[in-house]
Symmetry: C2
Subunit: 336 residues, 2 copies
């Protein structure tokens, strides 16, 4: 499945299907569990769930949980359940985020807030969050509760920081790193940590995998921010430039703000502050490219990716470790 390009420096081309491969059977079980968990006896919830299950996401986070878990042998039933719950929580955040960002498309299909409304999205998100914790408790996965309670808590901090830093042109890279760390990386870290905990219990593997997920997650979000600026709307399944329209100052902009002359920065600030149109958004994209922002962000994403890969050295070299390695490449290569 992996297209080898030969040579030590040449990078493999990795698709999401390549990552799914070694845990395909388990992902099938996750999908079955998801279909089961989404359903309840309130008709409106089932309608929304049916709609949401139509958009088959990339299942990136549960794939990581399963791959990490399988590093140490067969995947347990508990690990399948935990992987499913990680995806439930991820979905809950998407439902709330789409409502917050007023996004109308996600994964190529209309969002819950666009078909129903913001109110329904808020409750659907609450339903998915609470179902996730309810299921963990019911299955006595208390250590996983601990990991995910911390993760969701930090995620809400990151989301709030993002609102606070909207259109803040003096935002630092340090503040950006904290923001994306909390908003995105902690859940990817939790996905990996849970897989390790359920394979080895407490110990160095758990810490290493939490760290691996953190670095991978940082790289993931920086690439997400790059794609939002330079991506192609059709490939992404959602509108590009949406961060610019929302006044989010992501790493490519932070770096270009650092490099550009003051007058240019002032011009971009005014453009973004006054309700931007498509033409204006294109100007900001050019700004991010011309003043080195996109290049710098790509370099930072690569830096985090390299740190993630190094952390895999402590694990036995097998098919699953190789696929975790590939997952890092996937993050850097993905176009959506």
């Amino acid at each position: 499945m992996i297209e080898k390009t030969g040579g030590t420096d040449a990078r493999q081309k990795v698709s999401i299907a390549d990552l799914h491969g070694p845990v395909e059977h388990e992902l099938g079980l996750v999908q079955e569990e998801l279909s089961r968990f989404f359903v309840c006896d309130v008709a409106l919830i089932n309608q929304i769930s049916k709609h949401m299950l139509r958009s088959h996401g990339k299942r990136f986070r549960p794939t990581l949980t399963l791959l990490v878990n399988k590093l140490n042998g067969e995947v347990s039933q508990k690990a399948v359940l935990a992987a499913t719950i990680v995806e439930l929580i991820h979905t809950a955040t998407l439902v709330h985020d789409d409502s917050i960002d007023r996004s109308f498309m996600r994964r190529g299909i209309p969002t819950v807030n666009s078909i129903w409304n913001d109110q329904t999205s808020v409750i659907m998100g609450d339903y998915l969050y609470s179902k996730a914790f309810f299921l963990l408790v019911e299955n006595n996965l208390m250590e996983v509760v601990q990991i995910l309670a911390r993760a969701t808590h930090l995620m809400s901090l990151g989301e709030m920081l993002e609102i606070e830093k909207t259109l803040d042109f003096s935002v630092t890279e340090e503040s950006y790193n904290r923001l994306i760390g909390e908003k995105t990386a902690v859940l990817i870290s939790a996905a990996c940590e849970i897989g390790a905990y359920l394979a080895w219990g407490n110990g160095k593997e758990r810490r290493l995998m939490a760290d691996f997920g953190m670095k991978l997650g940082m790289s993931f979000q920086i690439m997400d921010d790059i794609l939002d600026i330079e991506g192609d709307a059709q490939t992404m399944g959602k509108r590009t430039g949406s961060d610019i329209r929302d006044g989010k100052i992501t790493l490519p902009l932070i770096e270009s703000i650092r490099n550009a002359p003051e007058a240019k920065v002032r011009q971009i600030r005014e453009l973004m502050s006054n309700g931007i149109d498509d033409h204006g958004a294109a100007d900001v994209v050019t700004f991010a490219a011309e003043y080195g922002g996109l290049d710098y962000a790509r370099q930072r994403a690569r830096g985090y990716a390299d740190q993630a890969i190094e952390l895999l050295d402590d694990f036995e070299d097998n098919q699953f470790r190789q696929t975790l390695h590939d997952s890092v490449e996937y993050v850097l290569q993905r176009r959506k």
Copy 2:
């Protein structure tokens, strides 16, 4: 503090301060914990928290946790923490509810969604929910996690049912009971159950108090729905008739719909379905009164209250049991 009116049938007049009395010291500790938990290093969260702490709520739920806990001796530090967390979760639901209902006033001060916006409310609610579970896990209160994960899950089901049943004139009393049971009573039940669990562990006290809280909560929500129809805006600290405006078919309406002639019901349905004004809302209030809806709802609230009181018989008669008894009367008597 309690104004005795004499005679066996005459009912005491109970204020919220009367309920606070026997656990005043512990409620002070809850308030200190709340001030501490609301704060974090994201400035926007602190601004919102400061605003929210200004509106000193009735602290009804933590008061119940503490009163139940004290039935069996001194209140432990864990019980104070659990009571605080019950209030945190209650506050989280209020923040999401106000955003969902587009309410602008709560407890006499502007809501988070009205000062900031819906997006900020969603994240603030998520912050409070996740902080609550994070704190429980951190303090190893796993049984409490279980109780509250179940409660918040059922609450989201109740909220969704409420959206589904908006303007549904064929809604049954049974469906209403389920809706308010999940939306409101489960958290009041959880507050009591947690107090009992932390006093006696698992056993009949825990089950009895969960049941007591459930009945009390049913009574509480029915009275809330009555007050929304016949209450006084100034006393309530929020607009009355808001349920009618939101198309919520509560028990007073359900009963009047059962009793009124078909033509009258059709008239009210058309009125409520077409964006109601103050004049129209007054017509619906008259409808709820004239066709026996308000009287019937009061009678049902009394019925649940009596069931709650009966459940106290199994506990030793002391000051705290008396105050729990008073809490039932308070629910029936309150004007806000």
